[in-house]
Subunit: 173 residues, 2 copies
DNA sequence: GTGCGTGCAAAGACTTTGCACGTAC
DNA sequence: GTACGTGCAAAGTCTTTGCACGCAC
């Protein structure tokens, strides 16, 4: 497999199209999902989705709040948490786990691949896709009689830029 | 709880030997690690390690506390948390991530493989090992010029016993 | 019009920390 | 003897919830 790395560049989910192109379809997707659940499409929810789209990378609830404040969108923390949950339910974003401190999320709509490499020094994230992993997963699940519904593959590594650039004095006696 | 997972299959930490056999070497490992860091090997720390060994499965800090209380080991919650961190540093146990609610840990000393399958219905965990995954990981890291230090592979699936056996009224339509 | 949504602050779940006393080395 | 450890409770961090008012459908 020569080049399985879908996004050659660090961290960003979308590459070819600009952020704005997403807004219309994603709004529709979200609106439809809400409608299907008898929930309402409010300005606040639209703003949260909009802000997430603008972030174009992995984010935490807190970062989203901060970013929205910076952009003069006045939405409460509670609403952000509530909306994030709805967006996960709608399949528009997904939760990823780096640590148990706080939840991280990212866009899932554009079918971004699940696999990623995380730099243990800098926190930099590189997304990529390994199609065989799905086959592997299905095979293992089948061998045990389980029904696969998803998987997660993360590589922990040190990125080339962190070794050189970063002094990173953890403990110097 | 009956038999939380794994034992029957490849990948459990202990298979042939009984729990007690571990106590001596693990104590030594821990003691040496502490000594190397100029820390002390106290009865409390020994008890925490002992209790973890007896659990023989994935555990949470809270479960460990409960189990130790049950066995009349009087160790404070703070000490459990502090000792868990030391054991992770020593490489004796490792943290695994199911969700961000709380941290889960398991024995890492016997070089248990990192890969696992989690039942999204019951929480049952099945450990297994895929050697190719390490090669895959190393190859991908190398392709991008990163230095791999670890990985995590989790399959989310529905275990056969959960569909039939378990009522599990999460939502009963 | 009504029921779902929102903001606010308070509560909740898990983990860490400050302090005074205790103990392994 | 001393520096590290311990228990306790209080503080911290991230997330959820109760309530009164407001708005989308």
């Amino acid at each position: 497999m020569a080049d399985h790395s879908a996004q050659s560049n660090p961290g960003t989910v979308s590459s070819a199209r600009s952020g704005d192109d997403y807004i219309v379809p994603l709004c529709s997707v979200f609106r439809q999902h809400l409608h299907g659940e008898n929930l309402k499409f409010t300005p606040e929810r639209a703003q949260v989705l909009d802000a997430i789209i603008q972030m174009e990378r992995v984010f935490e609830a807190d970062e989203l709040l901060f970013e929205m404040r910076r952009r003069k969108m006045r939405v409460s923390k509670a609403t952000i948490y509530r909306t994030i949950r709805l967006l996960v339910d709608a399949g528009i974003i997904e939760q990823i786990l780096y640590d148990q401190k706080q939840a991280h999320y990212r866009m899932a709509y554009g079918q971004a691949p699940h696999d990623q490499m995380v730099c243990v020094e800098t926190g930099r994230v590189l997304d990529f896709s390994i199609p065989e992993l799905v086959e592997l997963r299905d095979r293992i699940a089948a061998e045990h009689g389980w029904s696969p519904v998803g998987h997660r593959f993360q590589i922990f590594a040190i990125s080339p830029d962190s070794e050189s650039a970063e002094p990173d004095a953890e403990d110097e006696q």
